[in-house]
């Protein structure tokens, strides 16, 4: 993990809602593994003081003149809006690579990657590594609507099977990833599942994996204060080994990749982002 002031090589707007930054960061690119993230400080603005964590989307160790990493994000608030205003040659303060990466299986061969919306980001780099290790990779991307599916063209390219679901039916199968998973697991002979997306999806994917006795690695998102293990903000409720006690485990340095079976899904407070139950209801 290092801290550096890095230059932005390029900025690109993907489809409707996603932004792609390519950052010149040779030391980070050298050691970054799939599932790890970087923590970026928004451009000088005293209103938003904390860094924003971003999964690593792609790594290019043989860039045009130096190694680069790529991150993809959407605008959630003022901090990410400031990041979306960055352009080529701008400098940003970045810390990384951070966290426990996805584990690449030693003997198991067939891997299903399940991505919910922008949660698909770390699965692109993972797919590359899995393919490099001679694994079969299948992809299942789900989103609310077609333009929230992340880079389906590349996903089709690296997926032996590439299935898309949208809740409004605007692309692929109408519904959710979990609606098609049972069938896909059979068809692909899946031995390992990797998932990243909203907690509700990760929980459902974990339960389906458990039903089929397939291990599920989930990459989890969290609000972070520091992103390097000191503030205890980003904890997840995790069962201890005896499975009789829930402990709070840091997402940043002990995750963001967890064994889905160890997450205490029932312990989550009601989703603070859910647009339900207005005041007085």
């Amino acid at each position: 993990m290092i801290q550096q002031v890095a230059q932005i090589l390029s900025y690109k707007k993907l489809r409707d809602d996603y932004y792609l930054l390519t950052i010149v960061a040779p030391e980070i690119a050298e050691t970054a593994k799939p599932g790890q993230f970087v923590n970026i400080r928004p451009p000088a603005d005293r209103q938003f003081i904390l860094r924003r964590p971003f999964s690593i989307y792609k790594v290019n160790r043989r860039g045009e003149w130096a190694a680069t990493i790529e991150v993809v994000f959407d605008i959630r608030g003022g901090g990410t809006a400031a990041l979306a205003s960055l352009r080529a040659h701008d400098m940003i303060d970045i810390v990384g690579p951070i966290g426990r990466p996805f584990a690449i299986p030693k003997t198991r061969k067939s891997c299903l990657l399940v991505g919910g919306g922008i949660g698909a980001v770390p699965l692109f780099y993972l797919a590359e590594e899995l393919k490099g290790a001679g694994k079969r990779v299948d992809v299942l991307w789900g989103a609310q609507t077609a333009h929230k599916l992340l880079n389906p063209i590349d996903a089709k390219r690296f997926g032996a099977q590439a299935v898309f679901t949208t809740e409004d039916g605007s692309e692929g199968v109408k519904g959710r990833v979990t609606d098609v998973m049972d069938e896909l697991l059979e068809k692909c002979g899946t031995e390992v599942i990797y998932a990243c997306g909203p907690n509700g999806m990760l929980e459902a994917v974990t339960r389906i994996g458990q039903k089929h006795r397939i291990p599920v690695q989930v990459a989890m998102e969290a609000l972070m204060g520091c992103g390097y293990g000191i503030c205890m903000t980003c904890v997840q409720p995790v069962w201890n080994r005896a499975h009789d006690q829930i402990v709070h485990v840091r997402t940043c340095v002990d995750g963001p990749v967890f064994n889905g079976a160890r997450i205490a899904w029932d312990a989550f407070a009601p989703d603070p982002g859910a647009r339900v139950a207005p005041v007085g209801n």
Binding site: I49, L223, G225, C226, V247, P278
Partner: protein, 308 residues
């Protein structure tokens, strides 16, 4: 020109630098040591430890607010035994002085932790955290009441040989009375300030943004409050060492605290944003001393120019 002497005297202890860490904003230093040489700072004030491990509060534990952050962690920590077995030996190997922050729900719990720390190697002082806003009964925080403050300090004092600092809350009407109660009952110094109690609400869900409902505000948003608290307590007790903190982001902020009356300055939330904050503050203070011809920090402590 020789490098300026940044060393200070904190309750009889010589520290190489006035820059220390704010409890809870540095863990026990291990993670931060990937980014900074801990030996360059005055001391590590570790995260508050309790008698038993504490699980902390559910999530979400944090909400970013203008120029600050609101947290309700609930003092999640591994307990004093883990500190003695794991964190302290590591800090001693690094060779950085340690200020142990202690917390508890009852006076008995404070006493237990203080007794366990008696004679612990490398612990140069104990900071008594009687001002965490995220305990079960936040309206009965010890530091909200001079009597409760006195009882904790007097109980902890017995047995401990190192200086005691009382970490106080700004959420009170008469801070000076509470500081006085702490000093009359065994505190040698005062740490100012803990977080300011606050709340943020998600208007779409109608729910608080923190699972703990209310939390403690930190960051530059609270700095003027903290500077005023240090100023008031220094005016009332000019011979008492003060560790000043609250939204220190750079050396300029730190110097404000020193001019207001702080002996040492603690960097807190800034560590989250820039892991090298402590050493950057250190370097900035040295540059200021060179520029202004300041030979030692004691000569500018509390020297804010106030008429009358």
């Amino acid at each position: 020109m020789a490098a300026p002497d940044l060393s200070i005297d904190l309750a009889g202890i010589r520290l190489r630098s006035p820059v220390v860490t704010a409890s809870g904003c540095f863990a026990s230093g291990k993670e931060v040591s990937e980014f900074v040489d801990l030996k360059k700072i005055g001391a590590v004030v570790v995260k508050s430890m309790t008698m038993e491990p504490w699980p902390g509060k559910p999530t979400p534990r944090m909400a970013e607010t203008p120029s600050g952050m609101l947290n309700a962690i609930g003092l999640q920590n591994h307990g004093v035994e883990h500190f003695l077995a794991v964190d302290l030996p590591w800090l001693n190997r690094i060779g950085v002085p340690v200020i142990a922050s202690i917390a508890g729900n009852t006076v008995q719990e404070f006493i237990y932790v203080a007794e366990r720390l008696t004679g612990a190697p490398g612990v140069i002082a104990v900071e008594v955290n009687i001002s965490c806003p995220n305990l079960e009964d936040r309206n009965n925080m010890f530091s909200h009441d001079p009597k409760a403050t006195a009882s904790v300090l007097a109980s902890v004092r017995r047995g401990l040989e190192v200086p005691l600092f009382a970490k106080l809350s700004p959420n009170v009407t008469s801070l000076v009375d509470i500081a006085g109660a702490a000093l009359d009952n065994g505190a040698q110094g005062i740490s100012l300030i803990n977080t300011v109690m606050g709340m943020a609400i998600d208007i779409h869900t109608g729910r608080p943004k923190l699972a703990g409902v209310v939390g403690g505000l930190s960051g530059p948003a609270i700095r003027p409050i903290a500077v005023r608290c240090v100023f008031d307590v220094f005016r009332a007790f000019p011979h008492v060492p003060i560790i000043g903190m609250g939204g220190i982001m750079d050396s300029g902020d730190a110097l404000e605290f020193i001019l207001a009356g702080a002996t040492a300055v603690a960097v807190g939330t800034a560590n989250f944003i820039d892991p090298q904050s402590t050493t950057k503050v250190n370097e900035g203070i040295a540059a200021y001393m060179r520029e202004k011809g300041v030979n030692n920090l004691a000569s500018i402590r509390g020297r804010v120019k106030v008429e009358g």
